[in-house]
């Protein structure tokens, strides 16, 4: 696998990041080094080894499906940049 600026572009798009060209070059070199380091995991025999789930062995925790208090609307909206009555306002979803 080649880790160049195109690779960084592809992953950045998935991660919703917009990167400058000089950032892309530096990140490509960093990512190449780390991904090569990750390749050592190929040496481990994982035949019949299940993936780790909860490491302490806790299973599903359930609660009664009952109404309880939740964050009041004014507090939920207090940290956003723009609101309209009880709603978050965002820029238009479909570009021109």
């Amino acid at each position: 696998m080649s880790v160049g600026p195109e690779f960084v572009d592809y992953v950045a798009k998935l991660a919703k990041l917009q990167l400058a060209d000089d950032e892309k070059d530096a990140l490509a070199s960093d990512l190449a080094g780390v991904l090569e380091f990750f390749e050592q995991l190929d040496q481990v025999d994982i035949t019949d080894v299940p993936p780790a789930k909860h490491v302490i062995g806790l299973s599903n925790v359930e609660r009664p499906d009952a109404k309880s208090s939740s964050l009041p609307t004014d507090k939920a909206l207090a940290n956003t940049a723009d609101t309209d009555e009880d709603h978050f306002v965002v820029p238009k979803v479909l570009p021109d």
């Binding site: 917009q18 530096a26 380091f37 490491v55 806790l58 820029p91 238009k92």
Partner: protein
């Protein structure tokens, strides 16, 4: 009488406040004065709650019930990735700079209910991603033992605040060593509890299967005391374990002859600084002389731990940090449409290391690569857990250095992410296996910098590692204070 902050402990302060020998208000005034005097250079704090802390101290001084609480009047600093209602919580990131949470983290709430006085928020690597606190978007924190060195990270602000003497206790979070490694670098005690021992409610998530909150203190007793206050099941975090929480601080004394210590050979092998090896080996020899049994232990898959950790931690981080899109809270970049707003907000709000980890995590989870990276790492994690389970059939605790070196120079590793990641080599395993670990100061290198010794115990074995740490503390004798005090 002048209060000597560097000599106070949490337990001693609470006793003195309860008996009326110490006024909580005078202590808070001294603490705030000390922060004003030294924090411009030290850089441990991102926010100081002067007015609120003074009010709380007055309340404690005038309320006999509050003065009997286990942490009555004790000033505590908390890492700025723990939410405190109505106070800015940045996680060291520009993207959360405008964020003021509507709720308080359970661990912080429990401290306050136990009589502690929240004094402020401490610096950290952005979203707790880093080993030196150099990734903070806001300021540099220096090591109280040597201002040219890093304090470690990511809980570097909490470690520096405790080591410098301004507070006797602080909270940090530990995803791959972020409590224990800065504790080692700053010469203080740092405890990462068993996964699920302490509620993560109100902790800004980094890697949810690895994150734990824990104390940084100057004594083992104080670490035990704070743990007993913050631990326990919490309906707001369903990963907390429904098990009783002992009063760890009341059961710390033990005899070395009852202790079987496993020494993983690689922990004192290549890559470990000779000074670090010398100090840890000396303490092990003293423990043996005192009657402890030492056994060499093999953890066959440990050499793969750092790679496993960085696959899993970045994968979970990329998922957790997807929530920062500028819509509901935090920084929002002005844009013409929604897709641009997401991308511009995230690109403008996140720092370099966070972007690097989001990209890595996104890639290892992406279609076509998931099985080869994330899936495989989770299988290796299973093998690592088995290695530890096997080891704890034969020994009570595992002991080795907390980090392969003492505090490195500011700027030394910032251009080499992989080298920075490798400084976590001895700490990440406890997070991957969910086990409790503690770092306790055990000596100094030739330059006078603190060396930390790490003790890892079986799941829910906090009492065991605290007792072993207490033994080492007694064998070692008084440590510190850092020269800045």
């Amino acid at each position: 009488m002048a209060i000597k902050l560097g000599e106070l402990t949490c337990a001693g302060t609470a006793r003195s406040v309860a008996s009326g020998d110490l006024s909580a208000s005078e202590l808070i005034d001294s603490t705030l004065d000390a922060i004003t005097a030294q924090d411009e250079n030290l850089g441990a704090f991102l926010a100081v709650y002067g007015k609120q802390a003074r009010q709380r101290a007055q309340q404690i001084d005038s309320d006999a019930d509050l003065r009997r609480q286990p942490l009555a009047g004790v000033p505590i600093a908390v890492k700025d990735n723990l939410c405190v209602a109505g106070h800015q919580t940045t996680a060291g990131s520009r993207i959360l700079e405008p964020f003021s949470p509507p709720f308080t983290a359970t661990a912080v709430e429990r401290l306050e209910s136990a009589g502690a006085v929240l004094i402020g928020k401490t610096n950290l690597d952005e979203f707790a991603m880093g080993s030196s606190t150099e990734n903070s978007a806001f300021r540099k924190t220096t090591n109280p033992w040597d201002a040219s060195r890093v304090p470690g990270g990511s809980s570097g602000g909490s470690a520096a605040a405790v080591a410098s003497g301004v507070v006797a206790g602080a909270l940090g979070s530990d995803t791959g060593g972020s409590i224990r490694q800065p504790a080692a670098f700053c010469g203080v005690v740092g405890l990462k509890p068993t996964y699920g021992r302490v509620s993560r409610y109100g902790l800004v998530a980094f890697a949810s299967s690895l994150d734990q909150i824990g104390p940084l203190t100057r004594t083992v007793e104080d670490a035990a005391l704070i743990l007993s206050v913050i631990a326990g099941n919490d309906s707001k975090d369903s990963t907390t374990l429904p098990v009783p929480v002992p009063a760890f601080q009341n059961d710390l004394e033990s005899d070395a002859s009852d202790l079987k210590i496993g020494v993983p050979e690689a922990w004192l092998g290549k890559g470990v600084d000779p000074d670090v090896k010398r100090e840890v080996t000396a303490v092990l020899a003293e423990l043996e002389t005192a009657g402890a049994e030492l056994r060499p232990i093999e953890l066959p898959h440990e050499e793969f731990a750092v790679a496993t950790y960085y696959v899993i931690a970045t994968a979970e981080a990329s998922s957790n940090l997807a929530r920062y899109d500028g819509v509901r809270y935090g920084f929002r970049a002005e844009s013409n449409d929604l897709a641009d707003m997401y991308a511009n907000t995230r690109s403008g709000g996140f720092g370099n290391e966070v972007k690097r980890r989001i990209l890595l995590g996104t890639f290892v989870l992406s279609a076509g690569y998931y099985d080869a990276y994330y899936g495989r790492a989770q299988c290796v994690r299973t093998l690592l857990c088995k290695d530890f389970n096997q080891a704890f059939r034969d020994v009570d605790v595992l002991v080795g250095p907390t980090a392969p070196s003492t505090a490195f120079a500011i700027g030394e590793k910032t251009n080499n992410p992989l080298e920075m990641y490798l400084s976590d080599v001895f700490t990440v395993t406890a997070n991957l296996a969910g086990l409790p670990g503690i770092s306790v100061p055990c000596g100094q290198d030739d330059a006078g910098l603190p060396v930390g010794l790490q003790i890892i115990g079986p799941a829910l074995g906090e009492a065991k590692i605290l007792k072993a740490a207490r033994l080492i503390e007694q064998l070692r004798g008084p440590f510190g204070p850092a020269p800045i005090v």
